[in-house]
């Protein structure tokens, strides 16, 4: 299987002037909203420190907290299941639905279920699955994966969405008013919600002390999905556990501000037990998380609370578009997570970065994202996943730059230095540099030559 060529996908996206401009502006506006919102909280940096410390404490005691969560949830009347991988998760969901004869599932947004490809699995088994999150629904109707973990349809302009709804619902394709479009979603999804016989949510957090699954939405669609039907299923990545509600407060104050610059989302919901006469099933999912937990440099990526702030600020993501990564998780957090899902397939992603560090500094849980990106490059080299031409260029560079006389000879000849220096300093591709830029001209004399002439 070949590696995703993120750079090529990005180049294509940039050629689409309309969408690149729209997307970059939208993402940057979210970054600015985040900045304004953080400014309202004087203890912002202290909250970040706390959030990071709580997550690190929890992850370093994860087995104990998982058991505590299971005990609490079970005491409350919920049923707790465990899934080692995506397939097991999907099978458990299918079995639960099957036992109840449930055929119409409504679900709120869950990146975990994207990761597990739950929807196609269920649809292949005769279950109708309706996404109730507006962004997810748009992507579902358009048969496209999410482009952003918080706003799956952020890459679509209002016109694009009007077109999707026109095709799916027969609405007016020329009406791009956002309120009109939101209304279309409401009108057409409401009947499906009302007749659903099962509801599925993800989990933003799972509280060990209380056994509650916490969802955070603007629309209230997790509340609909979790309350309308009597049968409720919650898919929970094992890294979502936090110890108590006292800890939960820290994350709730950070999440929405980091995400879209609001102090809180409209619905912060706590599902602690099944409703009367109902059933609640919680599926704790590993799917590679325990393996990542054991990676010395990369386990802190498990602190992620899926706010999307890193991608909003990432200058590369904003120009590339979220679909360019070809992966469930994209942008900076995607780069450091995806190689654990497929080292060859995602071997190029760590190079889709300028290592500028903005991501790490907006991350509410202080994941050292750009440093992990750098570390992944080293892993790719060790595991021979670096492209041959680049590797060769680096090997040549390593030789020349460790031998002073060789270096001076190579750089003193104008023609040679023009070919050589860019070749290794910027990877062998004068053609690439020159596509949109003029090449710097080598000086008549190198600094070495000047120094020799004037100072030695």
């Amino acid at each position: 299987m070949s590696a995703i060529d993120q750079a090529l996908n990005a180049a294509r996206f940039i050629e689409d002037r309309t969408h690149e401009k729209y997307f970059d502006a939208l993402m940057w506006s979210l970054r600015e909203a985040r900045d304004r919102s953080a400014l309202e909280v004087p203890e912002w940096e202290e909250l970040r420190d706390l959030a990071s410390a709580i997550k690190e404490h929890t992850l370093s005691n994860l087995a104990q907290y998982l058991e505590e969560f299971e005990a609490s949830a079970t005491r409350n009347g919920s049923q707790v299941h465990w899934a080692l991988d995506a397939h097991e998760h999907n099978q458990i969901v299918a079995d639960i639905l099957n036992r109840h004869g449930a055929k119409n599932l409504i679900k709120s947004k869950s990146m975990l279920t994207e990761e597990c490809e739950t929807r196609p699995f269920l649809e292949n088994r005769g279950v109708s699955v309706t996404e109730t999150d507006l962004g997810e629904r748009i992507q579902q109707l358009d048969d496209e994966p999410p482009a952003h973990i918080v706003g799956p349809a952020f890459q679509k302009t209002p016109q694009d969405i009007a077109n999707v709804f026109a095709r799916a619902y027969g609405s007016d394709a020329s009406n791009t008013d956002v309120v009109y479009l939101a209304h279309q979603m409401r009108e057409h999804t409401r009947p499906l919600i009302e007749k659903a016989d099962a509801g599925m949510t993800g989990a933003n957090f799972a509280v060990a002390e209380t056994g509650a699954v916490v969802t955070v939405t603007n629309e209230g669609n997790a509340d609909l999905s979790g309350n309308v039907p009597k049968l409720r299923i919650c898919s929970v990545g094992i890294e979502k556990i936090i110890p108590s509600n006292r800890d939960l407060a820290v994350f709730i104050r950070l999440l929405s501000r980091s995400s879209i610059g609001l102090p809180i989302t409209q619905y912060t919901s706590h599902f602690r037990a099944p409703r009367e006469g109902g059933e609640m099933h919680i599926i704790l999912v590993d799917n590679g998380r325990s393996a990542r937990l054991g990676m010395e440099k990369f386990w802190p990526s498990l602190k992620c609370i899926r706010c999307g702030a890193c991608m909003n600020t990432c200058p590369v993501y904003r120009r590339s578009g979220g679909l360019s990564y070809g992966s469930t998780y994209m942008g900076p957090i995607g780069i450091i997570m995806m190689p654990t899902f497929g080292i060859r397939r995602y071997s190029e992603l760590p190079f889709s970065s300028t290592l500028n560090g903005s991501c790490s500094n907006v991350c509410p849980v202080k994941i050292d994202i750009h440093e992990q990106i750098y570390a992944w490059r080293g892993v790719m080299d060790e595991k021979h996943q670096v492209k041959l031409a680049k590797k060769t260029a680096m090997a040549v560079a390593g030789e020349v730059l460790s031998h002073p006389e060789l270096y001076r000879i190579a750089t003193s000849a104008t023609e040679t230095s023009l070919k050589l220096l860019p070749r290794f300093a910027i990877y062998n591709d004068l053609n690439a540099w020159g596509k949109h830029r003029e090449t710097p001209e080598p000086a008549k004399q190198t600094f070495h030559q000047w120094y020799k002439e004037h100072r030695q």
Binding site: V316, Y374, V386, K390, A397, S402, T411, I426, R455
Partner: protein, 248 residues
Amino acid sequence: MQIGLVIPCYLDVFYPEVGIATLELLERLGVSVDYPFDQTCCGQPMANSGCESDSRATEEHFIRLFSRFEYIVIPSGSCTHHVRNKFVAAPPSAERDHVSQHVFDLVEFLHDVLKVKEFPWGEFPHKVALHNSCSAIRGINMASMSERVHDAEFNKPKALLQAVKGIEFVEFARHDECCGFGGTFSATEEAVSAKMGYDKLGFIEASHPEYIVSSDMSCLMHLQGCARRLGTEVKFRHLAQILNGDRQ
């Protein structure tokens, strides 16, 4: 005080005038400057590609040349960041630690060590857009970053330049967004790199500066390449050249 001067490989070949300005400036300030002639590179290009094994010999060579200095000064934020924070290709040693702990960006050396407050020989009566590299801001903390909204604002390159007579700064949007160079990124992800550069120029040029100035020539090399292709007239200078007395 004697310092070891590092002139990064790309300045050596493409912008020796920046090296000359750095040397002259330090000498004017009474610093005894040693330029180890056998220097080549700090190893960053190979290390940033993940090819640590290929940067090892270069970094070992660097350590051999510079471990005897109390102050190792480089007119480049990205090289300083690399030597201070990522210098791990060579095996651990007291010399390697010493080098990492005694490396300074030129701005840091002037601002924090020499604490220079005046450049009486300097005059630069022009409108300037100051671009601080991501290495300078987030790597070695030479200026506050927009992400940390509660931090007090500070900007060491600007503080130095403000002491030069006649200089006028213009503000511009997204002032600390990455310019898109990113080292090997500029070729491996050419389209995004160029777009970032074009956008950066757009934001800067909306404020109509005559010059774009930085303490990192690598960013300027990239922006200059973009600007020349776009056909704009804005000029580029390294901070050292202005502090050393260039009038234009």
